[in-house]
Symmetry: D3
Subunit: 190 residues, 6 copies
Amino acid sequence: MTAAPISRYPVPRLSDLPEDIRARIEKVQEKSGFIPNVFLMLAYRPEEFRAFMAYHDTLMDKPGGLSKAEREMIVVAVSSHNQCQYCVIAHGAILRIRAKNPLIADQVAANFRKADITPKQKAMLEFALKVTQRANEVEEADSAALRDLGFSDDDIWDIAAIAAFFGMSNRMANITSLRPNDEFYSMGRG
Amino acid sequence: MTAAPISRYPVPRLSDLPEDIRARIEKVQEKSGFIPNVFLMLAYRPEEFRAFMAYHDTLMDKPGGLSKAEREMIVVAVSSHNQCQYCVIAHGAILRIRAKNPLIADQVAANFRKADITPKQKAMLEFALKVTQRANEVEEADSAALRDLGFSDDDIWDIAAIAAFFGMSNRMANITSLRPNDEFYSMGRG
Amino acid sequence: MTAAPISRYPVPRLSDLPEDIRARIEKVQEKSGFIPNVFLMLAYRPEEFRAFMAYHDTLMDKPGGLSKAEREMIVVAVSSHNQCQYCVIAHGAILRIRAKNPLIADQVAANFRKADITPKQKAMLEFALKVTQRANEVEEADSAALRDLGFSDDDIWDIAAIAAFFGMSNRMANITSLRPNDEFYSMGRG
Amino acid sequence: MTAAPISRYPVPRLSDLPEDIRARIEKVQEKSGFIPNVFLMLAYRPEEFRAFMAYHDTLMDKPGGLSKAEREMIVVAVSSHNQCQYCVIAHGAILRIRAKNPLIADQVAANFRKADITPKQKAMLEFALKVTQRANEVEEADSAALRDLGFSDDDIWDIAAIAAFFGMSNRMANITSLRPNDEFYSMGRG
Amino acid sequence: MTAAPISRYPVPRLSDLPEDIRARIEKVQEKSGFIPNVFLMLAYRPEEFRAFMAYHDTLMDKPGGLSKAEREMIVVAVSSHNQCQYCVIAHGAILRIRAKNPLIADQVAANFRKADITPKQKAMLEFALKVTQRANEVEEADSAALRDLGFSDDDIWDIAAIAAFFGMSNRMANITSLRPNDEFYSMGRG
Amino acid sequence: MTAAPISRYPVPRLSDLPEDIRARIEKVQEKSGFIPNVFLMLAYRPEEFRAFMAYHDTLMDKPGGLSKAEREMIVVAVSSHNQCQYCVIAHGAILRIRAKNPLIADQVAANFRKADITPKQKAMLEFALKVTQRANEVEEADSAALRDLGFSDDDIWDIAAIAAFFGMSNRMANITSLRPNDEFYSMGRG
C-alpha cells in the first residue's frame, strides 16, 4: 500500500497562495513544526479557507465557559460519530495536549461514556451528540438540564456551535478524503 | 397561541451592532423589504455572524457550474431532511424566486424524488443527502457517477459544501429555535 | 421538465366510472372547484376507492374530541415524516383552511416542535409519530400521559387511527407517484 | 400471569352490534369455529369496522395474479417487521392453511430470506418491505425489476396495497393491544 | 421448492467426527429424538464446536437467579430481533417446553411487550434488547433499575451474557443459512 | 477524576483462581509484561473465562487464509462500530504490532474506508460490518463477491466468526465497563 494523497482535490503550492493564506499556514507550521493537511486541502478554495478559519477560531479560541480541552472533547466525540478520520486523529492529538492527558482522546473517540471525564463533561458530550444526530428534537428541557449542571446559555450555544461546525468540517474531510498527517498519531502520548 | 420569539437567545438592537454587521443587515433589508430573522439571531455573536455570512456568500453567490436555483434546491432538500423549519421556509421562498417556479420548493421539501426537476438534478440531491446522512461512506464511485452525468469535480465539491454548510446552519437554527419571518411563506407563489 | 402525470397507473375517464364513484367525485369537484388527484388515482380500483373513502370519512368527518384542524395537523405531520408529497401538499392546504392560519401547514410539515400550536397539540403529534415509527413500543404509559393532558381514550384511538390510515395512504401515494394538483399549493395562504 | 384482555378498548356484546356487523361476525365464527378477536376489537367502532373489512376483502379475496398464500406471506412478513403480535399469529395460521405448509409461517416471520419459498416470492416480500420501510424511495426501477420476474403492474399495486393496508392494521392492533385468539397458534400445523 | 440444506458449509458425517463431539451429538440425539442442525453445522469446525457448546452450557444450564424458561425467553426475543430463523424456531420450541406454555414463544418472538409474562420479565427482555442494540449506552442506571425489580448483579450479568452469546450465535446461523429441523415447529404445542 | 475501576464486577485475586486460569493469566503476563484487564474481568466467571478463551484462540491463532493483522483489523473495525472502548484500544495495540504499522489502528477505528489497506482488505471489513449490523440480510451474493476477490469459503467463515465473536465480546466489555490497561495506548506506536 502506498499512502493515500492529502486530498482528492488539487493541493496548491504555498507559493501560489494569496498572501494572507500563506501567512496563516506559515504561522501554524512554525507553531506545530508541520502543516496540518486541512490547511492544504482548504487552500484549494481561498474564500472557503478564510471563512472556515474565521469560524473555527472564534469557536475554538475565544474566551468562554468551556475550557480548550473541553472544546476538543466535543470535536473528538462528534468526529468519531461522523467517522471523520482526519478530525478524530488531528483533534485527538490536540485534545491530548490541551488536557495534558495521553489517554483521553482514544477514550472519548471509542466511547465517551467510559472516559475518565467528569459527569458534567459527559452531559456536555451527550448534548453535543444530540445536536449532531437529532438537533430537530432539541428542546427547552435540554437547556434546563445543562443549566442545572452549571452551564450557562452561552456555554450551551458554544457546545452546539462546535458540534455543528465540526459536523460540517467532518463532511468536508470525508468528501475530500483528507489524510491526517503522520505527525498527529503520536503527539501528546508521552 | 402567541407566536414564538425570533430566537431563544437575545436579539440585539440594530443600533447596538458593529457597523459592518448593521450595514450588511440594512442591505438585505433594502433588497428584501424585511430583515430575515437569521441575521438577527446570528448578530448576537458578531464574529460568528461574519464567518457564517462569508461562508454562505462564497458558496451561494460565486460563479460555478450549479445554477442559483440548484443551490437552493440542495438547501431545501437538506434542510427538510434535518427538519429545520427556518431553512425550509426561508430557502423555499428563495428557491421559488430563483427557479421562477411556485411549486418547486414544496415538492423538493416533501420528496425530491417526485419533484418536477431533471434526472441530473435528482442525482445532485441524492448525493447531497448522502453527504448529509453518511458522508463517511462517500467514495470515488459517487464522484464517477456524478461526472458521468456532467458534473465537474468542482461542482461535486460545491454540492457537498452546500450540504455540509447548511447541515451546520440547520443545527444552529434548531438549537436557537429560529423563527421564520411571516413574509417567507407567500413569497414567489405567483 | 414537463410535469409528471397524475399517477403511474391508468386514470379512468369519469364517464367510465361506476355511478356512486362518479357522484362522489363530482361532489368534491363542486365543493373544491377541481378534482383532487387522489380520487382519480384510486378510481382505477373502484372497490378500494369505496373502502378508502369510507374509512377516510369516518376518521376525518365524524364528531369527536379532536377539531378538524387538529386531525389535519396529524395528517401533515405523519405525511411529512413519510415523505408523501401529495399528502403534505394537499392536506397542508386543508389544514390552512381548517385552522384559518396561512402559516401552520408549512410549520408542521417542517418541524412540528417549532410550530405555533399548543403544548397539548404537540403531545398529540408526538404520539401520532410514535404510532407511525414504533407502534410496537406504544404502552399504557403513553395513554396515561395523553389523558393527563385532557385527551380521552376515544381521542387517543382517533389520533392513532388517523396516523395509521394516512400511513397507508402515504404509501399508496408514493407507490403510484400520485401528483398533487397545482391548486393546492396556494390554497388558504391568505 | 392472567392472560391479557382482547383489547384495551371496550369490547361490545354481539347482541348490541348493528345487524350487518353481527352477521359478518357470525359468518366468520361459523367458518372458523371461533370469533377472531380483531372483529371484536373493531366492532367498538362500527363505521371503521365496515371500512376495514371492505378494504381487507377487496385486497385479500378478489381474483388476481397473487395466490391467496402469497398475499398471506406479505401480511406475515410485514406484520413481523412491525412487531404486530396479533397479525403474525393470526395470519401465520391462515398462511399455513392457504399454503398447506405447516412450516412456512414461522419461517417467513423469522426471516423470509431463509424461507422455503421461490426467488420470485422473495422478491415480492423484499418489495413489500421496501414499501413498509421506505415507500418514499420506491421508484420506477423497482417496478421494472418486478415485471422482469413476471409480476404485472396490477400485481405490484396488490403487493404494495396489502403491505400498506396491513401496516395500518398492525398499528391499530398494537395501539389496542389486540390479543390473538389461542386457537390460531396451533391451526394448520398438521 | 425443495427444502434448503442444513448449512451452506459442508456437514461432516458423524463417523468422521472426533470422539468427544460425536458423543455430545449422540447424547442430544438420544434426549431429543433427533440431532438439532446447529450441532451438525458447527461440527464442521471442531474447535469452535467445543468452545461454543462450553459457553452455551455454562450460560444456559448452570444454577442461578434466572429460571431456564426465562433464559430461553431472552434467546427468543434477541433472536427475533436479529432475524435468526434457526434460533427463533429451535429455542421457541425449548421455551414452550421449559415454560410449559404452548403460546409463549410465538408471543415473545412477535412482540414481547404483549406477551403473557410478568412485568419483571418484560424489564429483563427490555434490558436484553438494549444490550443487543446499544450496549455502548448501557449505564449504571440500567443496573439500578433491574436491582429495584429484584435482579441481582449476577442475574444482570447472566441476562447480558445470554443476549451477547446468542447475538453471536444468531450471526453464525444467518451466515451459514442454518436450517431449523422440522421437528422444532410443533414441539411443546400441547 | 480518578480512573474508573477495571470492571464493575468483582475482580478476583490471582491466588484465588483455579490453577488453569491462573496459569493462562501468568502466561500472558509474562509475554506482555502486564495482565490485560479482560482476563481479570472474565476470571470472575471461570467457566465463561475458559469458553471465551478457547473460542478466541481458535479464531485468532489457528492457521488460515487471513493474516493475524487482518484478523485484528476485523476486531478493531467491529469494536469501533460497537463503541467498545476496551476492544478498540487493546486490539488497536495488537493490530499495530501485528501489522508493524503505527498508524493503521487509528485509521481503521476512525473510518476503515480511508485506511492505508488494500481494496481486498476493505471488502473484508465491509463484510465484517454487514455481519455486525445486518447478518439477516447476508446472502449468497456476498460470498460470491468475496470469492471473486480471492477469499475462500473458509476465509468467509473466519471473517464472519471473528465479527460475531467480538460482537459478543464488545457487549460484555460495555456491560462490565471493562477498562483498557494504560499500557495499550502507546504500544506499537514506533
